[in-house]
Symmetry: C2
Subunit: 456 residues, 2 copies
C-alpha cells in the first residue's frame, strides 16, 4: 500500500483488537532470573507471592512458558472504552524535520489517567475482584499509576487505598483530586495509619516522604487487612504482560498497512511501557523471524541500563519486597530533586534486563533540558503536549529521524508516546522560565548506592 | 444495522470527514438580527468589522446565505491531527442506568486544548495568516480558548497575544504554561500595556481583573498594532460555522450506522459548542426534513436563555464591541464567585437566540452541585473525567435516559461532551470536600443588570 494511503491516525476496528496478551518470556531462551525470597534467597513460589499479590497475578508473574494468555471479557470490555489507542503517522513532524524517515507513534494518553498505566490497572483490579477481594492498596508518586488504579477500581466496585508521597500530595493536588473523584482514599505518606509510617514520622518529623516508604505502607496495609492485596504499576512481569496490548495493537496497525518497523523506541523507567510496546516485535526477533533495532531511552539522572549493574537487588527502599535481578543503581538511589519526569526507579524490569544483557536491545540516556526541548518542539508540531517521560522517546526518535535526513534513508521509526503532560505543568513552567537544569550522578554516587546490594 | 454492531467508539474514516462547514443561517427563515455599530446603531459592514477581525472572518460573520463553505486544505490537514473525534456509544452508562435508551456522546476533549475550541481557533488563525497578518490577540478566562488559539498559532507560525484574567493567571498557572509552551505571550489582565488596563489599575489598584477588561485590552492591542487582529472563541456566527464540524461528524457517524437521533443535548455558554453540534440536525428541522428535540443546558447561576431577555445588548463589559441581539442577562451580569465551570457569558449567540425565539429548540438550567454529581457518576462509569461545562449536558442526558427507563422507550439520546476537566480540579476538589454550593440569582439582580441595556 502506498505511503499516501496511510491515514494520520490508524485506529484498529474493535474486532481487530488483541484477544490475548503476549508473554515475551515464553520466547526467551534465557528466562528472566526468578524473584528471590529476601529471607531464604530461594525463588519465590506462587504461595509466597500470593500473600502480597492476587493469586492469578502471582501465577502470571512466575509463568515463563505460556506465550498467549486470554484477556478476560470484562477487561476487553473496559479496554473498548478507551482503546484501541491510535497509531499516529507523524506527517507534520516529518515535514518539519525534513526527514525521509516515516515516523509513527503509539499514543496512550487519550484516557483520563493520561497514560498507558490503565492497561495493567484494570487487569490487576479485575483479578482482585475475581478473587473476591474487597480492595487493593498501592503507592503513587505524582499520581499517574494511582489515578489509573482508582479508575479501574471504581469501574469494578473495588476499594482502592492509595499512599501518595506527601510532597506530591501537597504540592500536586490535581491528580490527588482525580483519584478522589474516582472514589479512592488517598493518604499522604508517611502516615500515622501504619507502623512503618509512624516509625518514620517519629524518626524524621516533617519528612515529605519517598516512594520507598509509600510502598512499605501500602504493602503493610495489604498484608494486614482482610480481603486486600497490594498492586504495582511497573517493573513486574505481570505488568509487562498486560502492557503487551500496546505492542500488539501497534504491530496489528502496521501490518494492516504493510509497514515494517525498522527502529522501535520507548522510554524506560521500570519498563512497563517499553516492555509492552516492544513485546511482539521482540518475540519475532527472539524467534529469528524478523530483526528490529530496539532502543530504551532513560534519563541521564537515573541511568539504570546505561550505568547500573546487572545484579540482584531490593525492589523497594523499605526492602520488604522480593529480590529481583535487574540493572540497578542500588535501592537507595534517588534521582536529583531537579529531575522532573517519572522514570525515577532505581532498577529495571527483570525481563527487559535479561533481554538487554543478551544483546537484544540497545539503551541510551538523555539530558533533561534536551528532553523538554524535544517535548516543546513536538507539542508545537504535532499538537499533543507530551508527558516528560514520553518525551525521552521523542528526543531519540527525532535524533534518529535527523540521521535519516543525513543518510537519505526512509526508515520506519516507531516510538511510544506513553502519555500527556497535563499534570506536569510545573516542570514545563520551569522549562519555559529557563530554570530547568540537568543533573548527572557521579560515578562515586552510583558506586556508593550500589554498596548496599544484597549478597546473593 | 442491529444495535450490537455499533462499536463503543465510532471513528469516521479520514475520507468521511466533512469537506465543508455548514452555515445554518442559510436555512433560517428568520435570520439572526444583524450586529449593530454601537455609534450609529446601523448594521455593521464587512469594512467596519474588518478593522477588528480578519476580512474573511468578517465576511463569514455576515454571510446569512451560503449553506456550505469549503474547509481550506490547510485546516483539513490540521483537523486530521486530532479529528475525527469519536462518537461514543455509552454502553456502560446505559447499563449502569438500566435504561432502554441508547446514549451517544460526541467527545471533543481528545486534544491538548482539552475542548472543541480548537475547531474554530485553527480556522481563525488560518484566515489571519492568509491575510498576511503577523498575529492575533484574544482574551481568556481559565484558558481553554487561549490554549486552543496558541496551539493553532504555533502550528501556523503566527504570533499570539493572550490577555488572561489576572486571578486565573495567578491561581490557575497550568493552562497559562500550556499557552507559553506553545509560544504565546500571556499577559495578566488588567495590565500596564494598554490604556484601558492602565486606567483600570489606576482606578482599582489590586483588581484581579475580569473577562470584560481582558476583551477590551485585547481589542485595543489588535486595533493599535500593525498586522494584528482580534479573535474570539464563541458567540459569533463565524465560530458556530467552524464548530459545525462537530455536528457534521456526529450526523455522518449516526447515518453510517442507520441511527436516527431523537434528542440532542448540548451545554450552552456563548453557544459555540451547542451551535456546532446541532447545526446539521437543525438544518433538517428548518427544512422540514426531520424532527429532533434539541435541548440547550445552561447553569442556573448564568441562565441567559431561561431567564434573560431577547434584546440588543453589548457583547462585552467594556462596550467596545458591536451590539448583538441575543438572550442576555445584561452585560454587567457576572455569575456568582462560587460558579465553577465556564458558561459564564451574559449573552448567547445571535443565531441560537433567534432559533430559540422561533421555537426550534428548548432550554433548561441546572444547579451546580447536581452537575458535579452527574460529572462524578459519568467519570466513574464511562472513564472520562468531564469538563464542568460538558457536565451540564451529561446531567440532562442522564435525566432523559431515566425518563426512558420509566416509559420503556428506547430513544436515541445524543449529547456533546465538549471537553475534559483536567484543568478544573480545584472545582472537583471543592465538590469532593463537600464545599461546593449553588447560587441562583434573584429576579432583582437580573432586572438590575438588565437596566443598562442599550436603547435600540
Amino acid at each position: 500500500m502506498s505511503n499516501n494511503e496511510i491515514p494520520y491516525k490508524i485506529y484498529l476496528e474493535e474486532s481487530e483488537m488483541p484477544k490475548a496478551w503476549y508473554n515475551v518470556r515464553a520466547d526467551m531462551k534465557n528466562k528472566p532470573a526468578p524473584l528471590l525470597n529476601p529471607g531464604t534467597l530461594q525463588p519465590m513460589t506462587v504461595e509466597e507471592l500470593s500473600v502480597v499479590f492476587c493469586e492469578e497475578l502471582a501465577k502470571q508473574e512466575l509463568d515463563n512458558d505460556t506465550a498467549f494468555i486470554d484477556i478476560p471479557d470484562e477487561i476487553k470490555g473496559f479496554y473498548k472504552m478507551y482503546r484501541p489507542s491510535p497509531l499516529v503517522r507523524a506527517y507534520c513532524l516529518e515535514e518539519k524535520l525534513g526527514t525521509p524517515a516515516h515516523i509513527y507513534y503509539k499514543f496512550e494518553g487519550n484516557n483520563t489517567s493520561g497514560s498507558h498505566k490503565l492497561n495493567s490497572a484494570i487487569a490487576q483490579a479485575y483479578y482482585a475482584k475475581k478473587q473476591g477481594l474487597k480492595g487493593v492498596t498501592t503507592e503513587t508518586g505524582a499520581g499517574q499509576w494511582g489515578t489509573a488504579l482508582s479508575m479501574a477500581c471504581s469501574y469494578l466496585g473495588l476499594d482502592c487505598k492509595v499512599f501518595m508521597v506527601k510532597c506530591s500530595y501537597e504540592q500536586k493536588p490535581f491528580r490527588r483530586e482525580v483519584m478522589r473523584t474516582y472514589g479512592a482514599s488517598v493518604t499522604p505518606s508517611p502516615s500515622e495509619t501504619t507502623n512503618v509510617g509512624r516509625k518514620l514520622l517519629a524518626e524524621h518529623p516533617g519528612t515529605t516522604g519517598s516512594l520507598g516508604c509509600a510502598i512499605s505502607e501500602a504493602v503493610e496495609v495489604a498484608v494486614g487487612t482482610e480481603g486486600y492485596r497490594y498492586v504495582l504499576g511497573s517493573v513486574l512481569n505481570q505488568v509487562l504482560l498486560h502492557q503487551s496490548v500496546i505492542g500488539l495493537e501497534t504491530k496489528a496497525a502496521l501490518d494492516k498497512y504493510g509497514v515494517k518497523a525498522d527502529i522501535i523506541i520507548g522510554c524506560a523507567g521500570g519498563g512497563s511501557n517499553l516492555g509492552g510496546l516492544i513485546a511482539p516485535f521482540m518475540g519475532e526477533k527472539l524467534r529469528g523471524e524478523a530483526d528490529y533495532r530496539i532502543i530504551a531511552v532513560e534519563p541521564k539522572s537515573c541511568p539504570s541500563f546505561t550505568r547500573g549493574t546487572y545484579a540482584y537487588d531490593f525492589c523497594d527502599t523499605g526492602m520488604v519486597c522480593p529480590l529481583a535481578k535487574m540493572y540497578t543503581l542500588g535501592s537507595d538511589f534517588i534521582p536529583a530533586p531537579n529531575h522532573a519526569g517519572g522514570l525515577r526507579y532505581h532498577g529495571m524490569s527483570s525481563t527487559l534486563s535479561q533481554l538487554y544483557a543478551d544483546g537484544y536491545m540497545e539503551a541510551t540516556s538523555v539530558e533533561q533540558t534536551e528532553v523538554f526541548k524535544a517535548a516543546e518542539y513536538f507539542a508545537r508540531v504535532e499538537g499533543i503536549l507530551p508527558a516528560p517521560e514520553s518525551s525521552h522517546a521523542i528526543k531519540v526518535a527525532i535524533d534518529e529521524a535527523l540521521k535519516c535526513k543525513e543518510t537519505g534513508e526512509a526508515k520506519n521509526i516507531v516510538f511510544g508516546l506513553t502519555g500527556t503532560g497535563y499534570f506536569d505543568m510545573y516542570a514545563y513552567e520551569a522549562f519555559n522560565d529557563g530554570k530547568m537544569s540537568d543533573y548527572i550522578p557521579t560515578d562515586e554516587e552510583i558506586a556508593k548506592s550500589l554498596e548496599k546490594l544484597p549478597k546473593v
